[in-house]
């Protein structure tokens, strides 16, 4: 019945990998701003068709 060693070890390894993922997420700054990304994801990319308006860019 040593399969339980294996199962528990796997579960711990899985949770450790989640923990590592969490630490990396914090380190990359994902938790610094918890509002803007939620708004940003709602913006559509409405400018799909390329409009040749380069010339009035510098205002």
């Amino acid at each position: 019945m040593s399969v339980i060693y294996l199962l528990i070890s796997i579960s711990v390894v899985v949770s450790i990998s989640f923990f590592i993922a969490f630490v990396r997420a914090v380190r990359s700054g994902q938790y610094d701003d918890d509002y803007t990304p939620s708004v940003r994801m709602l913006f559509d990319d409405e400018l799909k068709e390329e409009t040749p308006k380069q010339e009035n860019k510098d205002k």
Binding site: I4, V12, F19, R27, D32, T36, R40, K53, K59
Partner: protein
């Protein structure tokens, strides 16, 4: 009159002034220009997210010339390489999703910007650009032209950019990892049914639990050990001592249990406790990142000023490089960074930053000007007397009274209680130990550890963070931003409230204007409005906005004499507007009001009187505060001109003190404190900074919370001024809530201790009591504080859309 709203900024516009473009109404050409820029670049989606989200772009000519200066720019940049540079700019106007959208689409407006990213909470935008194609000045000017003027001050120039502290988040991660896994692995022990296989693997489970609990005990909880050690050394019995003691005893006992196979120990409770307490800390750690509570004069000063060389060429120099004898050009509305002598003919200086006196002071050539004054009128030249480091304002700031770190280690309510709690706990533990030691040595040790474990004041430690954190959040939604949770406790203790006058109980904007001298004919009003259009003097601007909209007339021969007035011709009529002296009218004695006198075709018509307008609900607020038994005092840097008016407005026996310099204000507060009073100072501007720092609670009131506020404990949006009484009430209720829940948690402790002392504390009982107390306490305080907040603000109108917007912050 039919009124519309500007499509861009949402401001109401009168029919006559409306500019129609693209079938949309705009209040001014500035707003129209922004719309044009956006529509030309296919960015009109800006207006889809939020209705009229924009701000009117202000005139910024010459203001950002200093950004051409390499040295200055390099200090502002976060990163600079050949093809990539990064700058973070603070933009106070960021307030809605449209703002985020447009600022993240800047690359469509300016070639050279690679990407831009908004941080809504901090109100900053981080722009990555190619310095070979564009530069900081161009970016800033672009932002200004679309109504998002960045706020750049001397503080940014000096500030060392510090990384954000994320240790608490890491700790919570570790604590949760340990807690979750330990809990799962503890299940076989909870249901100790003597099942063969579970018994067989018990050892494995226990060792794994032990290993998993280690990071939680040694890393996540280490803040408690250090803080307990510190408070022991300073002989202050804070709550951290019993917590640390409980954790350590729990760990040692559990480890011994494990090694000698007595049982599984309390690792599940230990990790749960650490996790919940850290969660409480996080809950309390609400910060308003976009506000600065520690501002000094540096955040008001410009980074650079325009220097004039002997050959009359102008260029920008960093403020710190100004030397004695240099000649500087100061534009309208700019702050004087140094002391100097006025070279130009005449001007007016607004010293309200320094003295609180709101009326601009006329100065003529040769007069001495002090740093901190705001220049009003046309550009002037001055010669530097003292460089920045020695100027009046800098010295005032480095003055001992301002520097004095007020030694007021506020003793929190939790600390007060644990001051008694800790010794009592130790006495009970020792008593139980001595009682049992003569009967049964094993039970004696069991009792000793069990008492310390069960009494570990986790519920006690959770009460304050959750209550205060919740109240902090509620107040933030009502636009009362506090520096930290301790301020709420201090607010609850306040018994004396000192108000500054100018800008605090009076409204900075929209002074009431009244015409003195009979009726003014419609024709004359038209003349006056038209001639005012050409003037930039603040009084002219106010009067212009006050007068009803009229047809536009052509003004000829317009002339503005700084510090005096303006004159010009409309349809052959000569119009002169200005001070009494300018019109040759003797100033009335004792006439302290601000006024603008008018003369048309040589005949005196009358004067517009600017009356200070007191904030809405002022009288009701004072009555309410009086009913709440607060002592109220008014402290003003202004002259006594309005004493009688104030007397009528305020409840009886309100002390009024006038003509106070910043140092005197501070001394006034200090004197009250010596009398044993808990003083709350409510003020604005730099002139109150010392008093705000000295007081027990310093609240800065601000029309625009993003920009101006001196060092303080809390920032209150001016619109919420009439709610001060309610906030005080709420803070008192918060403390009441904490006390109630302390009682509740002490009851739990008594029950738990009864089990512990009698030597009957089985792991099962501990497992039930500990989380149960935690959960009930947390839900109890959250519900109760929400209920009190609702009650305190019940009579208020329904929250508006902006309230919800702020709630999301």
């Amino acid at each position: 009159m039919d009124r519309n709203n500007c499509f861009h900024c949402g401001l109401e516009v009168a029919e006559n002034d409306t500019i129609l473009f693209d079938q949309k109404a705009f209040c001014c050409s500035g707003c129209k220009t922004v719309y044009e820029i956006f529509s030309a670049n296919d960015l009109t989606t800006y207006y889809d997210f939020e209705k009229s989200p924009g701000a009117t772009p202000l005139h910024t000519k010459g203001k950002y010339d200093f950004l051409a200066h390499e040295d200055i720019v390099s200090k502002l940049l976060e990163f600079h390489e050949k093809e990539t540079a990064i700058i973070s700019l603070n933009i106070p106007h960021i307030h809605c999703s449209s703002c985020i959208w447009i600022l993240e689409n800047l690359h469509k407006l300016l070639d050279g910007i690679v990407t831009s990213q908004v941080n809504f909470g901090r109100k900053t935008v981080r722009i990555i650009f190619n310095p070979e194609k564009t530069n900081v000045q161009e970016i800033v000017l672009l932002l200004c032209s679309v109504g998002y003027e960045p706020y750049i001050s001397l503080e940014d120039y000096e500030a060392v950019k510090t990384g954000t502290d994320r240790s608490l988040i890491y700790k919570i991660g570790v604590a949760f990892f340990s807690f979750g896994n330990v809990m799962l692995l503890s299940f076989p022990d909870y249901f100790d049914v003597g099942e063969y296989w579970l018994d067989h693997y018990k050892g494995f489970f226990r060792w794994l639990i032990f290993l998993l609990a280690l990071p939680s005990f040694f890393y996540a909880a280490n803040g408690y050990y250090t803080s307990a050690y510190k408070s022991l050394r300073s002989k202050m019995y804070t709550i951290d001592i019993p917590i640390a003691l409980g954790l350590i005893v729990m760990f040692i006992r559990s480890t011994i249990d494990m090694f000698f196979d007595y049982g599984q120990g309390f690792f599940d409770s230990l990790t749960a406790l650490v996790f919940f307490m850290l969660l409480g800390k996080l809950f309390q750690q609400k910060t308003y990142n976009f506000l600065s509570f520690e501002r000094d004069f540096k955040s008001y000063f410009p980074i650079a000023v325009t220097k004039i060389e002997s050959d009359l060429t102008e260029f920008s120099v960093p403020v710190y490089e100004i030397e004695k004898g240099d000649r500087l050009l100061i534009r309208n509305q700019e702050l004087l960074p140094v002391d100097g002598i006025l070279i130009s003919e005449a001007t007016e200086i607004d010293y309200s930053f320094v003295t609180g006196e709101a009326v601009p002071i006329p100065k003529k050539s040769g007069d001495k000007l002090y740093a901190g004054g705001k220049q009003l009128g046309n550009s002037v030249v001055l010669e530097v007397l003292k460089p920045v480091s020695q100027s009046y304002l800098t010295q005032l700031w480095s003055n001992e009274v301002f520097q004095k770190k007020v030694d007021r280690k506020h003793k929190t309510i939790t600390d007060t209680i644990s001051h008694y709690f800790t010794p009592i706990l130790l006495i009970i533990a020792l008593a139980g130990f001595t009682f049992w030691i003569f009967r049964d040595v094993t039970t004696a040790f069991n009792v000793f550890t069990a008492v310390l474990i069960v009494a570990c004041p986790c519920a006690l430690a959770l009460t304050a963070p959750f209550t205060l954190g919740n109240v902090l959040r509620i107040m933030g939604k009502k636009k009362f931003y506090l520096k930290n949770a301790v301020v709420i406790e201090q607010l609850a203790q306040v018994d004396t409230i000192v108000f500054d006058k100018t800008g605090t109980i009076t409204s900075g904007q929209a002074a009431a204007i009244r015409f003195e001298g009979g009726l003014i004919s419609a024709e004359h009003a038209v003349f006056i409005k038209n001639i005012l259009q050409g003037s930039n003097h603040p009084l002219s601007r106010k009067l212009y906005d006050f007068l009803p909209a009229t047809a536009h007339k052509k003004v000829t021969g317009f002339e503005e004499l700084p510090g005096k007035g303006i004159s010009g011709y409309i349809e052959g009529h000569n119009i002169r507007i200005g001070s009494a002296a300018y019109l040759g009218k003797p100033a009335e004695k004792g006439f302290l009001k601000t006024s603008v006198h008018c003369m048309i075709d040589g005949t005196y018509v009358g004067a517009y009187i600017f009356e200070t307008r007191y904030r809405e609900g002022l009288q009701a607020l004072f009555t309410q505060l009086r009913n709440q038994q607060y002592t109220i005092k008014i402290l003003s840097g202004d002259n006594e001109g309005e004493r009688s008016l104030l007397k009528d407005l305020l409840p009886e026996h309100t002390e009024l003190v006038f003509n106070q310099k910043p140092e005197q204000k501070l001394a006034f507060i200090a004197k009250l404190q010596e009398e044993g009073r808990n003083v709350m100072m409510i003020g604005d501007g730099l002139n109150d900074a010392g008093a705000l720092a000295q007081s027990n609670v310093g609240i800065s009131i601000s029309e625009n919370v993003n920009v101006f506020s001196p060092a303080c404990d809390g920032i209150l949006d001016a619109a919420q001024f009439s709610n001060i009484g309610r906030f005080l009430e709420l803070s008192k209720k918060a403390i009441f809530t904490i006390k109630m829940s302390f009682t509740l948690s002490l009851l739990y402790n008594v029950v738990g201790l009864a089990f512990a002392v009698s030597g009957k504390l089985s792991p099962l009982v501990a497992t039930i009591i500990m989380p149960l107390s935690t959960v009930t306490i947390v839900s109890f305080v959250t519900l109760l504080s929400n209920y009190y907040a609702k009650k305190a603000f019940r009579s208020k109108k329904k929250p508006t859309a902006t309230d919800y917007e702020m709630a999301a912050v």
